[in-house]
């Protein structure tokens, strides 16, 4: 990333090539107490590749992957999890969603039923931080995977390495109270890395979007950006039609969306592409 800050552009490096850098960071940090290694997306993947060796040396006690990229881009049928399932560790138990610690997470989302917070958010790291702290205090956290991917399908639920399962695949997008947004490109094709599932509700543009980055602009891609567009549409709607209920918005988001993919709602595009003009004019 340092290269992008200095103005040069190149595709992201292969995760394997970053292993020495990650190990170098662990060596340079040498904290006095316990160390958990991890990162976001590709960063967490690199950490997962060095975790076993560092754990064996007693250098780390845990691994925290936020938004682990379970699938290579555009290849949802492939998984990048063989090494995760093989991670060695001491005895431990698999923690499933719905058990004690996840209860508070569910509670936090349950309290956010108001319109302002009803629209979509990406895997919300802030919601998970408390669970990580609980698991750390209980001495249970070793591998925590938050965000995308299917733990059951990846075989992680049976991994020898203790797994702190903070939330199952698709959460928090899959919570009933959440309007889950997927992303499309300029030709209305689904973003290749986007997760599919019964919780996908509506689509909005999210591929190669121009966004302010480091004082200039850059192209960004992600369901996060599509979610922001739906959030903005709902905010606009609240302005031009004050008083409409969250239920009305949800129903009409679905009714006015432009159908994409298979006819009707499907697990790729949900009800289809957001159509703000039709939504604002809906009766």
């Amino acid at each position: 990333m340092a290269a992008r800050r200095t103005g040069t552009r190149k595709p992201p490096p292969r995760a394997e090539t970053l292993i020495p850098e990650y190990e170098g960071a662990v060596a340079a940090l040498h904290p006095a107490g316990r160390l958990i290694i991890g990162g976001k997306s590709m960063g967490g993947r690199v950490a997962s590749m060095v975790a076993d060796g560092l754990f064996a040396k007693g250098a780390v006690r845990g691994l925290l992957c936020l938004g682990y990229p379970f699938h290579p881009p555009g290849k949802p049928e492939q998984l990048r999890t063989a090494h995760l399932a093989a991670l060695a560790g001491p005895e431990g138990k698999v923690r499933h969603a719905g058990e004690g610690q996840c209860g508070r997470l569910l509670g936090a989302i349950e309290r956010r039923r108001d319109l302002r917070d009803r629209h979509a958010f990406e895997p919300a790291d802030a919601f998970h931080a408390g669970r990580i702290a609980d698991a750390d205090r209980a001495g249970e956290a070793r591998v925590a995977v938050v965000g995308d991917g299917d733990l059951e399908r990846a075989g992680l639920a049976r991994a020898a390495f203790p797994v702190a399962r903070l939330a199952p695949w698709g959460y928090p997008a899959a919570y009933e109270e959440v309007i889950a947004v997927t992303a499309t490109d300029a030709a209305d094709r689904l973003m290749s890395q986007a997760n599919r599932g019964p919780y996908v509700f509506v689509a909005a543009p999210g591929v190669d979007m121009i966004a302010p980055v480091d004082g200039g602009t850059d192209l960004v891609t992600g369901t996060s950006f599509a979610a922001a567009i739906v959030s903005g549409a709902i905010a606009n709607l609240d302005n031009v039609r004050p008083g409409v209920s969250a239920e009305w918005i949800e129903a009409n988001l679905a009714a006015t969306a432009g159908d994409l993919g298979k006819a009707g709602r499907d697990n790729e595009f949900g009800y289809g592409l957001l159509d703000y003009r039709r939504l604002a004019d809906a009766q």
Binding site: M1, A2, A3, R4, R5, P12, P13, L18, E21, Y22, G24, A25, V26, A28, L29, P31, G33, R34, L35, I36, I37, G38, G39, K40, S41, M42, G43, G44, V46, A47, R61, L64, L66, G67, E122, D125, A126, F127, H128, A129, G130, I132, A133, D136, D214, S224
Partner: protein, 50 residues
């Protein structure tokens, strides 16, 4: 190596976080994760791949 620290220096557990592809260590999601973990009492150290 330059680290970006959050949370109490005396914390018993430090979490080392690397960024995702195409995003800096101080992207919005990294800031949110670091702030949330720091608020739980962790010391968080972030670094950037070269």
């Amino acid at each position: 190596m330059d680290f970006l620290f959050d949370g109490p220096p005396e914390a018993s557990t430090t979490i080392l976080l690397a960024h995702g592809a195409g995003a800096p260590m101080d992207s919005a999601s990294m800031n949110a994760a670091a702030a949330a973990l720091a608020a739980e009492g962790f010391r968080v150290a972030r670094f950037e791949f070269s």
